[in-house]
């Protein structure tokens, strides 16, 4: 099969290019995930805020970024951030023309989307923790942030895990959209390979296999983590 030769590493094959693309895809997901996680908590916190303005903003944020297609969010962020940065830069340097790093735009857009989705997960996990826990901690005289970080948060983790695992999988797949704003991820390298070799079916099938393998590995990791998070509960109740 000379098709398999197309995947070899080196000058003739596209194996090394695809691996480089895979690296970019993974980097994008791995950089985005922790930032989106932190923002998920902040937005969820905002939804429970005592201030009405903060509540409205957090709920609106979630509604907007949950409703818009990820592709649209990505394109808006990519172009709009670029022109915003240039507007600001031109205040200082009249003829500034800064080109925004597409990778950064990708991270910002995916963070917006996934913090909106994640905030819903955090909120329901927070509600899943028994109110009595917080009351008991209060009775013991713990401060508010102690109650959250030492009592509530460790128990939320178990409830968050399945949904966060699901979001991670969606994030991995959504990184493919950045190929449209010219980031050299897996899909873009495949497109380049296809432009030269004219073998779309083969290369897109290879992509599908790579993504399925990533999904499989993520699933394994998730079940290990879920198993661990339930260890303390075994035998109880």
């Amino acid at each position: 099969m000379d098709l398999l030769q197309l995947l070899s590493f080196g000058d003739t094959g596209w194996g090394d290019e695809l691996m480089r693309g895979l690296g970019v895809t993974l980097a994008l997901a791995i950089v985005t995930a922790p930032i989106a996680l932190v923002f998920s908590f902040l937005v969820a916190w905002g939804k429970a805020s005592a201030w009405r303005g903060v509540r409205v903003f957090s709920n609106g944020y979630t509604t907007v970024f949950r409703s818009l297609p990820e592709l649209l969010t990505l394109i808006i962020i990519y172009y709009q951030l670029q022109s915003l940065i240039n507007v600001v830069a031109r205040v200082f340097v009249p003829d500034a023309n800064i080109t925004l790093n597409a990778f950064a735009a990708g991270v910002v857009a995916l963070t917006l989307v996934f913090s909106a989705l994640g905030s819903e997960v955090v909120r329901s996990a927070y509600q899943a923790v028994d109110k009595g826990q917080a009351e008991a901690a209060m009775a013991l005289g713990l401060r508010r942030n102690q109650i959250f970080f030492k009592v509530i948060l460790p128990q939320m983790w178990r409830h968050c895990l399945p949904a966060f695992g699901n979001l991670w999988l969606i994030l991995l797949k959504d990184t493919s959209l950045v190929s449209i704003i010219a980031i050299s991820d897996l899909v873009r390298y495949a497109n380049m390979a296809i432009a030269t070799t004219k073998e779309p079916f083969f290369f897109y099938s290879v992509l599908a296999i790579i993504y399925v393998v990533l999904a499989f590995l993520s699933g394994r990791l998730q079940s290990v983590l879920e198993h661990r998070s339930a260890v303390n509960l075994q035998g109880g109740r």
């Binding site: 509604t63 907007v64 949950r66 409703s67 818009l68 297609p69 990820e70 592709l71 649209l72 394109i75 808006i76 172009y79 709009q80 022109s83 999988l169 797949k173 959504d174 493919s176 959209l177 190929s179 449209i180 899909v187 296809i194 004219k198 073998e199 779309p200 079916f201 897109y204 099938s205 992509l207 599908a208 993504y211 399925v212 990533l214 999904a215 499989f216």
Partner: protein, 229 residues
């Protein structure tokens, strides 16, 4: 910003029509494709159930963008063979390819929804059906299906919204849905506000669907009864 909306009202309404068609055809046909998948997933035949599990796993594990590319560009590679069996006219059109991808994609997700719903039907009502002397088909059609569908209503609403958002990917293979029109007008005017108009379109449609669904779910509260107690 408004001038782009008013000047191109024809383009935008055509875009909305295409987006609606892509989404509805995907969800509706996806549902019918999902039924055999859910049934074989639940069947006691190991081969059948593992095949449909594999299908769902692959579809859920790969980006929809790649699935669309496989169908549009990948099948295009076999245009001679497709011509021979008389299917080329169908797969030549990007809209048809988009719809096919959405049907196959949505079927996988909907079969999982159906499976979960069928498994959650309380044993007691099935036994009651048997006690009344209903046949297996009758029990499925008159007892299991109505309860499953009513129960799964929120999940189906969610799937509808997800597919609506996903339908924007059809713009990548030159379908002129809302997203496609936005990209088309942007290519001529280089005015970013067209994307905000598109965003507004999607936002309004999603909020409408959610409002309709809240109404529908309100009428089905009796279905939350889970038997027992």
């Amino acid at each position: 910003m408004l001038s782009h909306l008013i000047d191109n009202v024809g383009l935008w309404s055509e875009g909305l029509k295409n987006t609606a068609m892509l989404t509805l055809l995907g969800v509706i046909f996806g549902f019918f494709v999902a039924i055999p998948f859910a049934a074989s997933r639940l069947s006691s035949n190991r081969l059948l159930s593992s095949m449909s599990y594999a299908y769902v796993y692959v579809i859920r594990g790969t980006p929809l963008l790649v699935q669309i590319f496989i169908i549009y560009y990948g099948l295009g590679q076999f245009h001679k063979e497709l011509k021979a069996i008389g299917l080329w006219w169908f797969f030549r059109d990007p809209f048809n390819c988009g719809v096919t991808a959405f049907i196959l994609n949505s079927a996988a997700y909907q079969s999982e929804i159906l499976r979960g719903g069928i498994l959650a039907v309380p044993k007691g009502v099935i036994e009651a059906g048997k006690a009344l002397g209903m046949s297996r088909v009758q029990i499925f059609r008159k007892i299991i299906m109505p309860i499953t569908l009513g129960r799964m209503l929120p999940a189906f609403g969610n799937e509808l919204v997800l597919l609506l958002k996903a339908s924007s990917l059809a713009s990548v293979i030159t379908v002129r849905d809302v997203m496609g029109q936005a990209r088309f007008i942007y290519a001529q005017t280089f005015d970013l506000s067209v994307f905000y108009i598109a965003a507004l379109n999607y936002l309004v449609v999603v909020l409408l669907i959610e409002a309709v669904w809240r109404k529908l779910e309100g009428r089905n509260i009796w279905l939350r009864y889970s038997g027992g107690h």
